[in-house]
């Protein structure tokens, strides 16, 4: 049976549908010929399948007909970009202002974004981040609730036994500070701390050598990779014997990866065993049952199924219930969760009041505003120049553009500009990052290869394009083509109103930032100028880190003084730039029975006062000439008022089972925060309870010379111990670091904000001058002078800036007044700051605008009037 075989009609139809018209004939022909030739060799089915196969194989770019709808959309976008690009090139000046301004704005925003990201990433290195916490306590003294990181030793036992279900791990700890680590004759200073054996597991320490369990052996020490390298170089550190502070003998049982800069524990160069530490210090052993000795830290990891808040609530009364003696202080125990460690660590009245999180918010707001300023520039210049493009819009509309297409056009133009600005901004960020890291004390690196970074960047570009482009797009696309093309289209009186409003916003933000910066600096300067009460120049402090320092007071003092390098030497319990111990248990005649007294307590040797040149305002300094001075003490002014003792000299105060007598009153010395009032302080003569050596260098000799002499004496008397010293003036100025950092960052951002605003103003001024060329020409012909014209052109802008001042000054006053009040010792906001910033803003405006105004005013009217 012979049927006429034909190719499958469906496949033929498909081919006809997608093939380019000029190819239809030959392709159909070829495939049919193929079909018939196949038929001779195989079955119909196979030939048909083969036909399908061949037809589908024609689905190639070269053969497919271009869809007309698709083509148009694509072409239009191509056209938008082309026109946009030509516009950028045609108006180079404006484009430069636009792209430059946006680039600066985006740079600031990106830097702030990186900074915020870094702040928020703190401690996330630890795997159990959300379950870790530090145990803290609130205590109330004289009606004032203080929050403390330090807790008493028995708290750990109570939590471990009574609340076993709520905690997975607990670890006691001392405080992280510098220790001398020595191997043989070699010794270095590294900061470290002592923890219980579960601690490495809790903070998911990444071990390079050994395991996290190795801390279970009390004589073991874990070293960070860099410490191991510093001690052993390339040699094997494991199982080496070391000593900590020349007292504790330990063996290296593990090396861990250095903790990153963005962790609270970043200073842990080594981790020792709590058991070893506790057994080596008799006072620690003695405080096992003492609920009153708040000298330790306790870290916990809650069980996976328990809620941090409810556990915190549960353990609130544990100290109160366990110790009757402590009940008058109403101790409240609570958990401070790790995610809050870095950002929320300020306390007031027993409540968390934030902390760095406020800075994060503040910089976030600044970043957004700076970006907004740059976007406003873009909006202003695009709408201001809209008259020039009105004809284009009209033509496009009569050619059939619908409004959405025009909106698309202007949005794609803005995204083109934003893209260019982003490229500039990204390179600027890469260039400025080292400088920024230095300024902000960060170690941020941009992860260029991270896809997530690009997603964020892309959304950032998109967001900025929309922010900057939406208003011009909506505005320009709203023109009526008939009016535009007929030539009767004129901008109304009020079209420039939004533009003016935006200039006001720009300057309001900039002026607020400038006022803010000035006041931050004033506050820093004010606190720096505060009378300190002691001499900081040329005074050294040396911490006595090993037992070798002790019992050598007279030996060292004589030798140092005889060398001529040192004028005076003394020892004290703490550094002069910090208060290390506060004590209660003082009693005296006439003491208010309701007073729960507490004094900062400093134990000193005879020449402490002479070393620091303190000022005695009543009585006398401790003297070697009076043998009765072995029980001598001095009060500072605040302590005198606090105690309420009248006629203090010679009065007795009982403390620690001893009778002390007051020999003098010292002028207040700033030892703690320079922003807070000086604390009531007592200075007690004691040669046992000392940890620091204070040296006053001979002012007649060069510091470097004296230092080398001092070092050689120390090396001789206290061998194989690193000679680590601190200058008092440097330590003191560290107290201002964080405020100065904020001040510097804020001033950089303020300057950039004003720069962006000025760029915009410059653009607008040149636009206005250009627009009013004819008017200026006629005015000149009629006799206007350059000065009058300059005044006329500048006036409008100055008025806007003055308006911005009116808006920003009350706002800045309100915010900054609140900020200043968070410092107990603060400057007052004086009126001249506002006058100065108004004057400054007006001057900058005049300077920016005048260039264009004077240029326009100087133009020859013949040129501007000739062409019509």
């Amino acid at each position: 049976m012979q049927t006429k075989a034909t190719p499958p009609p469906l496949a033929q139809k498909l081919l006809t549908n997608f093939l380019r018209t000029d190819l239809v004939e030959e392709v159909h022909g070829d495939l049919e010929e193929k079909f018939h030739s196949d038929l001779k060799r195989t079955s119909i089915l196979k030939a048909k399948l083969q036909y399908w196969y061949q037809a589908i194989n024609y689905l190639r770019p070269f053969a497919i007909r271009k869809s007309t709808r698709h083509t148009n959309g694509y072409d239009m976008f191509q056209n938008y970009f082309k026109i946009g690009w030509r516009n950028i090139l045609r108006t180079r000046g404006y484009s430069l202002i636009n792209i430059g301004g946006l680039a600066i704005g985006m740079t600031v925003t990106m830097l702030i974004g990186l900074w915020i990201d870094d702040e928020l990433s703190y401690d996330k290195y630890h795997e159990n981040y959300s379950n870790l916490a530090q145990v803290m306590q609130n205590q109330t003294l004289n009606g004032i609730t203080e929050t403390e990181y330090s807790i008493p030793r028995p708290l750990e036992f109570a939590l471990r036994t009574t609340y076993a279900n709520d905690f997975k791990y607990l670890s006691m700890a001392s405080w992280t500070h510098d220790h001398v680590i020595s191997i043989g004759e070699k010794s270095i200073t590294k900061s470290g701390n002592f923890f219980q054996s579960d601690f490495p597991e809790m903070i998911s320490l990444r071990m390079i050598k050994g395991t996290r369990q190795n801390l279970k052996d009390p004589t073991s020490i874990l070293l960070s990779a860099s410490t191991a390298a510093a001690l052993f170089g390339n040699a094997e550190p494991m199982n080496q014997s070391l000593s900590i502070g020349n007292r504790l003998d330990v063996k290296v049982t593990g090396v861990y990866e250095d903790l990153p800069y963005t962790t609270t524990f970043r200073d842990l160069d080594f981790i020792g065993s709590w058991e070893l530490y506790a057994s080596s210090e008799s006072w620690v052993k003695n405080s096992t049952d003492n609920w009153g000795n708040n000298s330790f830290q306790l870290f916990v990891q809650t069980s996976p199924n328990s809620d941090m808040k409810s556990v915190s609530e549960k353990i609130k009364r544990v100290k109160y219930d366990n110790s009757k003696k402590e009940q008058p202080y109403n101790p409240e125990i609570f958990l401070h969760a790790m995610p809050d460690w870095h950002l929320k660590s300020s306390w007031k009245g027993g409540k968390n009041i934030g902390g760095r999180i406020q800075m994060v918010w503040m910089f976030g707001v600044i970043g957004t505003f700076v970006l907004l300023l740059a976007c406003i520039n873009f909006m202003n210049l695009s709408t201001a120049r809209s008259e020039k493009r009105a004809k284009e819009v009209g033509i496009r509309m009569t050619m059939g553009s619908v409004r959405t297409q025009l909106i698309n056009q202007f949005l794609s133009e803005s995204s083109l500009v934003v893209m260019l600005a982003f490229i500039v901004a990204a390179s600027l960020v890469a260039l400025m990052l080292p400088w920024f890291n230095n300024l902000a004390d960060k170690r941020i690196a941009v992860e260029w290869s991270n896809p997530f970074f690009w997603i964020i960047s892309f959304s950032f570009i998109l967001f900025t394009s929309l922010l900057a482009g939406s208003y011009p797009a909506l505005y320009l696309s709203s023109f009526q083509p008939v009016k535009v093309l007929k030539g009767t289209f004129k901008m109304g009186r009020f079209t420039s109103l939004p533009r003016k409003a935006m200039v006001v916003v720009q300057f309001a933000v900039s002026i607020s930032l400038i006022i803010g910066t000035i006041i931050v600096y004033q506050q820093i300067q004010f606190s720096k100028n505060r009378p300190v009460g002691y001499n900081r120049e040329g005074v050294l402090m040396i911490q006595m880190r090993t037992p070798k320092f002790y019992g050598k007071f007279d030996l060292l003092r004589n030798e140092l003084r005889n060398s001529g390098a040192v004028e005076e030497m003394s020892e004290s319990s703490g550094p002069i730039t910090g208060v290390w111990s506060n004590n209660s248990g003082f009693s005296w005649q006439g003491k208010d029975p309701n007073l729960q007294e507490e004094f900062a307590t400093i134990w000193i040797t005879h020449e402490y006062g002479k070393t620091f040149n303190w000022q005695i305002i009543a009585g006398r300094d401790i003297s070697r000439e009076f043998s009765t001075d072995s029980s001598a003490m001095l009060l500072n002014e605040t302590a005198l008022n606090y105690s309420g003792i009248k006629d203090p000299i010679g009065k007795e105060i009982k403390f620690d089972g001893r009778k002390l007598h007051i020999v003098g009153i010292v002028k207040d010395m700033i030892m703690g925060s320079p922003y807070k009032p000086v604390k009531q302080t007592v200075y007690i003569l004691n040669y046992e309870n000392v940890n620091w050596i204070n040296l006053k260098l001979n002012p007649g000799k060069s510091t470097s010379e004296s230092l080398s002499k001092v070092e050689s004496i120390f090396k001789k008397q206290i061998p194989s111990t690193p000679f680590d010293y601190k200058f008092v003036d440097q330590e003191y100025s560290k107290k201002f670091d964080s405020e100065e950092r904020v001040g510097k960052l804020a001033s950089v951002f303020a300057v950039l904000a004003i720069l962006i605003s000025c760029l915009g103003l410059f653009g607008l001024a040149s636009f206005v001058a250009e627009q009013r060329t004819k008017e200026i020409g006629i005015r000149k012909v009629l006799g206007a002078s350059v000065a009058t014209l300059w005044k006329m052109l500048s006036k409008d802008f100055v008025i806007l800036v003055l308006l911005a001042c009116v808006v920003s000054i009350p706002l800045a006053y309100y915010v900054l007044n609140n900020w200043l009040r968070s410092y107990e010792y603060h400057t007052e906001i004086s009126w001249w700051i506002f006058v100065a910033s108004v004057l400054g803003a007006v001057l900058i405006t005049l300077f920016t605008v005048s260039y264009q105004a004077i240029r326009a005013a100087l133009m020859n009217p013949v040129n501007s009037l000739k062409s019509e």
């Binding site: 004939e25 030959e26 392709v27 159909h28 022909g29 070829d30 495939l31 049919e32 010929e33 193929k34 018939h36 030739s37 196969y53 061949q54 194989n57 024609y58 689905l59 190639r60 070269f62 053969a63």
Partner: protein, 115 residues
């Protein structure tokens, strides 16, 4: 470096076009390709290649005669241009020069082996 400008597939297609002469159109070339190389190829792939080679100027084409088994449709006959021929020759010479430099198969040795 001498650019042959030709991929292996393109070179074969060009040669087949030359070989087939008057009969060089997409289906015949694909057919010849399959029978000579024992590799299957779709007419679409060959056609795409031919179009590209024409764009590059190695080939020119015009519509030829129609036959009954094509349903009365005409075919597009491809012919090599002078430039195409030159390129093919250059490709061959280049390859030959490479072979000549290749020590494992020095031509002299080959001659010795075969004579």
């Amino acid at each position: 470096m001498i650019e042959t400008k030709l991929g292996e597939f393109e070179e074969v297609i060009l040669l087949l076009t030359g070989i087939l002469g008057e009969e060089a159109y997409a289906f015949k070339i694909a057919d010849e390709f399959e029978s000579q190389t024992k590799r299957s190829v779709s007419i679409g792939a060959v056609h795409s290649s031919l179009t590209r080679l024409e764009e590059k100027g190695f080939l020119k084409s015009e519509m030829g005669k129609s036959t009954a088994e094509r349903g009365g449709r005409r075919k597009r006959i491809y012919t090599l241009t002078a430039y195409g021929k030159k390129t093919l020759a250059a490709a061959r010479d280049f390859r030959q020069s490479l072979w000549d430099q290749y020590p494992g198969f020095a031509t002299s040795k080959l001659y010795v082996g075969f004579s």
